[in-house]
Amino acid sequence: MRPYQVATAVAFALVAAVAMIDSRAGALVDRTGREPGGVGAGFYPFWSAALMFVCAAVVAYRAWKTPTPGTSAFEGREAVMAVAKLIVPMVIAAASILVLGFYLMTGLYMGLFARWIGRYRWIWVAALTIGMPAAIYATFELGFRVTLPKSLLYDAGLLPF
């Protein structure tokens, strides 16, 4: 676990460093009277980032110095697989909305989970693939009047969603 703790803290320190560099122009109190109250736009983000940077350095140092049992962040291969099986399709599904739209993505995503993870019979896979987008359409598009993203085929006039 120790390398992961150190890496996480270092990553936060880097984010803080980038923010500090970006807002460095307003880091100091303005004595010329140009900034209202002597504080410019960069003052607050700079010192928030500085606080974050110092603490991240402390956390990284402590994690480095403190021995912790075990080196892996995960409890075995099954845990890694369980997380990967969830994250990878989720990221792909979110990205595919730009092409497939929300409803096509929903059908494919539900069907994939039902077949791949649930190992359901095809009839149930088909029911979920069609039923879930239909239920969401009825609830959000018709009920709450929330318009969800449509596919490129919709833009081309080939599909109603």
Partner: protein
């Protein structure tokens, strides 16, 4: 005379809360809360965050109905988590973890699942009732007091709320400060509201408006929790009992409650005041209640073996703390827990400004909410007594359906607020960040509170300096600001003192209240 005014206001609140549409919203909220409370993969905070975009539509006609819906989710989740802890030995919510110690043993070893469930429901109801009475009488007084606050006093209140998160109970104060810094940075992103200059946008036009609170919260809580749950359920072990709460169980529980009424009321009252402290909601309250019950019990050896006090005290304190966490949100504009932080974000989205002016400008809204807490707890209590088998059956919804469904709802929630795909990607990214932060034991409560309070903290800081012509002496220029900032400094010294005291003796593991997510 002031008391009579409160009764009059409360009566008006009941007239609002008992309107058919508000009753319906409360019922929907409570049922949703019970469902997410039962499901280990989804928490009350996540459900409230996911529902925020839907409440925008409701708030167009009535913000009171919208807040009643969200509060109902909170109350439902408080009760729902109990069922899985007692029957399945799996905490549905972080605040139900403590029920594993005595709830499951009473249900399994002593064969009294009905009594275990009824004990927690009755204690929740009693604790919440007393907390709501305190809420009714104290929140207005606190708000009246806060009306005299100017920017320096408000800035001191915000600093103190951050100091509370760091000082009281954070296992790693450095990690808590880091999360606060990160939250403040995220809040600062986009246009500076005073000078109009872009900050931390790196030339990206999409970031000029800043990062929305809702997509970040849905990611951190909704997606982050579901990923963490996926990992744990692959490893976990589930033991199931079945139960219903019968009339005999209720009679037996009432007898036990009578013996422990003093304990339940006192832990409820202590839990309420603990909940009022920013950042400490139901989870921390539940552990506090358990600790108090055990410390003052004559039968310490019975704890962990199915002792009813070990169920009633934490439940009363947890519910009372949850009620208490809404007090600073309403009166001061400071969230008392992550869930109230999300509800507070809802208020901003609906065009309301949380804080003392709410009592003046949105009188019906505030008193409608307060009255709905009474009604909501009674409703949840009755539903729970009647519907335990139904709630337990929710646990049987297959993972392969539930998990993608929650992810889809999270995506809809983040997209629908601004019709923005950027918000969807922000949700996914923060879902991954939230999962990893949980894994690395970073507290999420300071992060969420900092994102919500970031803008207000900066605004009051700069307004104070503008008013004083740049002199920092303004921050200690009034007695209230000076006292609050001194308290904040004292709270920040707590971890240092604790660390010095623990040197030379074996460190005992503490419960980290700031990692509590409620």
């Amino acid at each position: 005379m002031e008391f009579l005014n409160v009764f009059g206001d409360l009566a008006g609140g009941f007239a609002t809360a008992l309107q058919p549409f508000n009753i319906l919203m409360l019922f929907v909220g409570v049922m949703l809360g019970l469902v997410v409370g039962v499901l280990p993969g989804l928490g009350g905070t996540s459900a409230v965050a996911i529902l925020l975009p839907v409440t925008v539509i409701i708030a167009r006609t009535s913000p009171t109905s919208a807040v009643i819906l969200l509060a109902g989710v909170y109350w439902g989740a408080l009760f729902g988590g109990v069922v899985t802890s007692i029957l399945f030995n799996i905490p549905g919510e972080p605040w139900s973890v403590v029920l594993l110690f005595d709830g499951f043993p009473l249900a399994k070893r002593k064969g009294k699942p009905g009594v275990a469930l009824a004990s927690s429901f009755f204690a929740s109801f009693v604790g919440a009732f007393f907390a709501t009475v305190l809420f009714t009488f104290l929140s207005k007084a606190l708000a009246d007091f806060a009306l005299s606050f100017g920017p320096p006093e408000l800035f001191a209140v915000f600093v103190m709320s951050f100091a509370t998160l760091i000082g009281l109970g954070a296992e790693s104060p450095a990690k808590a400060v880091m999360m606060i810094g990160f939250g403040l940075l995220l809040a600062a992103l986009g246009f500076d509201t005073i000078t109009g200059q872009p900050r931390l946008t790196f030339g990206q036009v999409g970031l000029l408006a800043g990062i929305g609170f809702v997509p970040v919260t849905i990611g951190l809580f909704g997606i982050g929790e579901i990923i963490a749950s996926a990992e744990e359920s692959g490893i976990g072990f589930m033991e199931r009992l079945s139960a219903r709460v019968g009339f005999k169980d209720i009679l037996e529980t009432l007898g036990e409650l009578r013996k422990r009424l003093g304990l339940v009321i006192s832990t409820g009252i202590i839990g309420f005041f603990f909940g009022v402290l920013p950042g400490h909601g139901a989870t921390a309250g539940s552990f506090l209640g358990y600790g108090l019950a055990r410390s003052y019990s004559k039968n310490k050896e019975d704890f962990g073996k199915g002792e009813i006090s070990g169920i009633m005290a934490p439940q009363a304190a947890a519910d009372a703390a949850a009620v208490g966490s809404l007090v600073p949100m309403i009166s001061l504009g400071v969230p008392g827990s992550p869930t109230s932080a999300v509800i507070m974000a809802g208020l901003f989205i609906w065009g309301l400004t949380p804080g003392p002016l709410l009592f003046v400008e949105h009188h019906d809204f505030v008193w409608g909410l307060i009255a709905s807490i009474y009604v909501g707890h009674l409703m949840t209590f009755l539903i729970c007594l009647a519907a335990v088998p139904l709630l337990a059956s929710i646990m049987r919804i297959p993972y392969a359906i539930l998990t993608p469904f929650i992810i889809l709802i999270s995506i809809i929630g983040s997209y629908s607020l601004n019709n923005s795909m950027l918000d969807v990607f922000i949700t996914i990214v923060f879902g991954l960040i939230g999962y990893w932060l949980r894994k690395m034991k970073y507290p999420l409560a300071p992060l969420v509170v900092a994102i919500v309070l970031g803008d207000s903290t900066e605004r009051t800081f700069r307004q104070s300096l503008i008013a004083s012509g740049g002199s920092p002496a303004i921050f200690v220029g009034t007695p209230i600001a000076a006292i609050l900032l001194t308290l904040a400094v004292a709270l920040l010294l707590v971890p240092l003192i604790r660390s010095l005291r623990s040197r030379g003796r074996r460190a005992e593991p503490d419960f980290d209240v700031s990692t509590a997510i409620d």
